[in-house]
Amino acid sequence: MRFLFKTDYEDDIRLMPHSGYLVTYGVLLALLAIAPFVLSSYIVSQLVFVCIYATVGVGLMILTGFTGQASLGHAAFLAIGAYTAAFLQQYNVPFPVYFLAAGLLTGVVGALVGFPALRLQGIYLVIATISFAFIVEEILARWESVTHGNEGMRVKTMQLFGMAISRDSPSFYFLCLGFLILTIVGTLNLLRSPTGRAFVAIRDSETAARSMGINVSLYKVKSFAISAAITGFAGCLFAHKLSFISPEMFTLLLSIEFIIVILIGGSFSLHGAVLGAIFLVMIDPLLTYLKDDLPGMIAGVASTFGAGKESASQIQDKAAAIASANGLKGAIYGLIIVLFVLFEPLGLYGRWLKIKLFFQLFPLYKRATFKRQKIYVKSERNR
């Protein structure tokens, strides 16, 4: 086990605590850089979605994970970013301008949502953000002169410095990846600044933060604005990736997907946003694969355990029927959320930390290290 010897504050907030980080992330970056030339175009396309979801995840993490303000309305922020981009693009505004406009406008809307949200906590905030998302969805469907209503909007191919960047090209992948890295580094920097520490203080105890002289309202609004702005930028990329947007894409279910991203990844670290995004996006190809191959495998297992040929093929048909049933994906999503909340509350990144610690401390690992405290006495109602 490596012991880091920290002698001053600069050591404590360093982005790269030791040289190992440089090696691991360098290798990761190199792998990501050669990915579009090695992997199939379908996987690369999924990787673009991973980048976009991870960007939104980082944005949501700032708000929910680090400031402690739950939001189930991030699909609305994504929609505002996407629609701003699509709207400005009609007037031949260059990409960098409408990209910035998408982020800034969404950030302003986020701040506007943040003001009323100041008075709300916990469940009320969740409900308020859901309502906000519904209202935005309805506006998108009704404001036909701008959004074309339920017909949706086409998004043209991106033009950057005179080059056309199609949504399936490696350049688009690099653009999304680059923006994700920029967001992550920016967020890491933000989190080690006074602003970031104020966020964390508000999450841990609002009263304590206030009594330490932190302007809670200001920082909550800031957190909302930053989180929304990042989501707005991602929305612009999302619109380009899909090349067509309509209001029914930005429903509550999308907001829930974003929450799943940080819940499954682990909502206490930015690693979680990326891991969660990988999990959420890659579960689709995995399910398709299972749908095609699992019934055959089940039948094979059944026949090795002595099932006759006819009953084996019956089993295969039944399994195939279940696998192709409508809504299986939803059931699996639901099950995954429940199982993660029950058994892996720290998410995938928490599991990785546990595994790492297990080997570092090999015979001495205690399961209680990561145990959360249950609180029965302190009532949320009295907060």
Partner: protein, 291 residues
């Protein structure tokens, strides 16, 4: 004027359903501080159970109704035992996520079992109408209103006159103190979940003739019951029903008098305004924070 009364009655009927769902939220919230996002889906599942008993097995309406309520009460206890009890005491957000996951799961499973078509239950109230002068009121809507009044009365008696009801009120005030006083808090919480699932089922079955049963009905109505619960102050049982009726009337009036699109947004606009101006709701108790 006639239109107005007509709209008012259908708004109240719809609002009673919201109120019943909101009642389920409030019961569970008061007892365990858990906000059950799957409440609407419990209602949907109750409707499907009733459909199975009445439509598929051909039972008598009342027998099927009772069967669905009993099945769902047991299911509510099961859900509490499996999903909620292990995470009680953890931050509220993880519990919210768990119930969202549960709702997602139930919705998809119901879609897989009963299909995605709209289902209809034959009820004694499906056809008839009540005529007062030139006013025409459908029986199905009146039945919802009547059933809501009866259910509220029963719940009121239960909470104020029975030992179990008192135990429930005690454990909702302070779980730990109730436990020290010898109240079996875990069992009480189980029963609260059973009651809330049973109330949801009643709402689902009563609603069946008005909007048909399909797997997404829970999501749509469940989310509209939130404004109702918040409007009434989240911890108040009469508040939930009053809030539900108000939301129902507002929605129905907005649908009739305002341009298209307002109907769906109106409950949420009301909700945001209430949250901004009076976050504790109409019947809520203002609490101070202890550090």
């Amino acid at each position: 004027m006639l239109d107005f009364v007509q709209q008012l009655v259908s708004g109240i009927a719809l609002g009673c359903v919201y109120g019943l769902i909101a009642l389920g939220f409030v019961l569970v919230y008061k007892a365990t501080e858990v906000v059950n996002f799957a409440q609407g889906d419990l209602m949907m599942l109750g409707g499907f159970f009733a459909f199975t008993f009445i439509g598929m097995l051909g039972l008598n309406y009342w027998l099927g109704f009772a069967g669905a309520v009993i099945c769902m009460a047991l299911f509510g206890m099961l859900a509490e035992r499996v999903v909620v009890r292990p995470i009680l005491g953890y931050p509220q957000f993880s519990i919210i996520m768990a119930t969202i996951g549960l709702g997602y799961f139930l919705r998809s499973i119901a879609g897989m079992i009963w299909g995605t078509d709209d289902l209809k239950i034959e009820t004694p109230f499906s056809q008839g109408v009540l005529r007062i002068g030139s006013l025409v009121l459908a029986h199905d809507k009146l039945s919802v209103i009547a059933a809501t009044i009866i259910l509220c009365g029963l719940l009121y008696l239960f909470f104020n006159r029975t030992t179990l009801g008192t135990a429930m009120r005690a454990s909702s005030e302070n779980m730990l103190a109730a436990y020290y006083m010898g109240i079996p808090v875990k069992r009480v919480v189980s029963i609260v979940w059973a009651i809330s699932a049973a109330v949801a089922t009643a709402a689902g079955v009563l609603l069946a003739p008005i909007t048909f049963i399909h797997s997404n009905v829970g999501l749509v109505l469940g989310l509209k019951a939130f404004p109702a619960a918040v409007l009434g102050g989240f911890g108040s049982i009469p508040g939930a029903v009053v809030g539900g009726v108000l939301i129902g009337v507002i929605e129905s009036m907005a649908g009739f008098y305002l341009p298209q699109g307002w109907k769906d947004v109106a409950p949420y606009l009301v909700l945001l305004v209430v949250l901004l101006l009076k976050p504790e709701g109409l019947f809520g108790v203002h609490t101070r924070k202890k550090v």
